[in-house]
């Protein structure tokens, strides 16, 4: 392999040898340390390979043995260069290409982030961008250690970061804390607070963990009414209030509440009917400017649908260039009227949405007394919904003046 490489580098020729005594010629070559390879006998003539340098030394041997040599083919770099000696720009191009590749290899072309689940790649990339770690920056300006500590400080739930430059890629591997998704911190309420009713209703259950209950099961409460008091009276031996102790009231107060539901809509409504006529346009956004190739749709009423294709060079390297296509679709407006069945279905859908919203808030629906009526022009859904829900909401406790301890001093 190495031999053939050097033979190519220095160049060699294949020659055809004819004459009186080829063996003598070969032996003379050997004696003059001329290397011959791939020697082949084809009956009347011999063919062999010789290096260029050796070929030039053959002249006296040829004369001595009266051998006739004919060059059949030339191989190697010197012949190649000689053949293309006039193509100077080609060589320049090769060097320019090498220089270009080298220059380009000095920059970061791709930032690859892996191992992130809850933090999206875009969030991390945006943060890195704000710290001037961007695509196209110089590789020498990247400080991997700095990036690691920056990410760990900015995102506390990322427990392990490794930043590494491989080629022209900046690889950032992170490990998020999967075990304990940071639970909502149960702020231990130290401030004294009361619990008041947020809605009107009849109390169905009271569970007090801290504070003094002011209500009983079965009581009717008004919004804003005090349910649990965060102030505990301290009684002295004679049963008089001698002082107060404040606490953060904590209780589950459930009550039966009612919601009135009212929904009304007109049966006649406007419907958009696409006519099937469409117009297309394309546009490109360069930086902040938009170059568009739009035909004016020429429609009276139309909807517009834009689809954008951002151009990216590598995985996450978005160029400030976006291509987009626009579709204009013509439509006409007709006034239609819901049928009875349609109107009922629509009213029911609205009601279901309302109920579902309540359920998401943790409200338990007990009774649903909504009636849907379809008139000639109007559809109306009216009724009440009875529900069971927590009605407690927190307010700060009013702090009373401490009772002067005058009576205590008198006893002495």
């Amino acid at each position: 392999m190495l031999t053939s490489f050097f033979r190519y580098l220095y160049g060699y020729v294949r020659v055809r040898l004819t004459g009186y005594s080829p063996e003598r010629f070969l032996n003379l070559c050997k004696a003059h340390h001329i290397e011959i390879w791939d020697l082949q006998n084809n009956g009347s003539y011999y063919e062999m390979n010789l290096s260029i340098r050796d070929f030039r030394r053959l002249k006296p041997l040829r004369r001595k043995t009266k051998a006739h040599l004919l060059v059949i083919k030339r191989y190697g770099l010197p012949f190649f260069l000689h053949r293309y000696r006039h193509r100077k720009m080609f060589v320049v191009g090769i060097f320019l290409c090498i220089a270009f590749l080298y220059t380009m290899s000095l920059y970061i072309w791709n930032i690859h982030i892996e191992g992130n689940y809850s933090r999206t790649t875009n969030v991390i990339l945006d943060y890195l961008e704000s710290e001037n770690i961007v695509h196209g920056m110089k590789k020498s300006e990247v400080d991997c250690k700095e990036i690691q500590s920056m990410i760990r400080i900015r995102f506390p739930d990322i427990i392990w970061v490794s930043a590494e430059i491989r080629g022209t890629r900046l690889l950032i591997r992170i490990r998020e804390n999967m075990d304990s998704i940071p639970a909502k911190e149960e702020t231990i309420q130290e401030e004294p607070r009361d619990i008041v009713a947020s809605r009107e209703g009849i109390v169905t259950s009271v569970l007090v963990r801290s504070g003094v209950s002011q209500i009983q099961v079965g009581d009717e409460v008004e919004p804003g009414q005090l349910l649990i008091l965060g102030r505990i009276d301290i009684l002295n031996d004679s049963g008089e209030v001698s002082g107060y102790q404040y606490t953060a009231a904590d209780a589950d107060v459930y009550a039966r509440t009612t919601y009135t539901y009212y929904d009304e809509f007109v049966l006649s409504h406007e419907v958009r009917h696409p006519t099937g006529k469409k117009r297309y346009g394309i546009y490109a956004k360069v930086g902040g400017k938009t170059i568009s190739l739009k035909l004016q749709p020429g429609f009276e009423r139309f909807s517009v649908l834009n689809t954008e294709y951002p151009v990216k060079l590598t995985e996450n390297f978005y160029l400030p260039l976006t291509f987009g296509s626009t579709i204009y679709e013509e439509y006409e407006i007709y006034t239609e009227s819901y049928s009875k069945v349609e109107a009922e279905a629509l009213a029911e859908a609205n009601l279901n949405e309302f109920v579902e919203n309540l359920a998401q808030k943790g409200v338990q629906i007990i009774e649903n007394n909504v009636k849907i009526e379809v008139g000639t022009n109007i559809c109306r859904a009216v009724g009440t919904i009875t529900a069971l829900e927590e009605i407690g909401s927190y307010t700060p406790t009013e702090v009373l003046e401490p009772i002067p301890e005058a009576s205590d001093t008198d006893e002495k």
Partner: protein, 86 residues
């Protein structure tokens, strides 16, 4: 055996150096390496005759080629049928 051979044998010296003996390494049927020779006497497709220091060497075969031919060594490829000392 003359005294020179006896000496070489007794002193355990390499025979190719002391006696100028030819070394032929034949790998399978198609490759032969010849060292310690003097010159090529005849070369055709069927026969290669080599002059060594002590004797002549004939290699008979078909389609014999010389892959390389240098001062120290030559490599013969082709179908080797017979190797003969004369």
């Amino acid at each position: 055996m003359n005294w020179k051979e006896e000496m070489t044998d007794a002193l355990n010296l390499p025979k190719d150096l002391m006696l100028g003996a030819v070394i032929i390494t034949i790998t399978g049927k198609h490759e032969a390496y010849v060292e310690n020779y003097m010159s090529l006497i005849e070369y055709t497709e069927e026969l290669i005759r080599i002059q060594t220091k002590t004797c002549k060497l004939e290699i008979h075969g078909q389609h014999l080629d010389i892959s390389y031919y240098t001062n120290d060594e030559m490599k013969i490829t082709g179908e080797i049928q017979e190797v003969k000392y004369c």
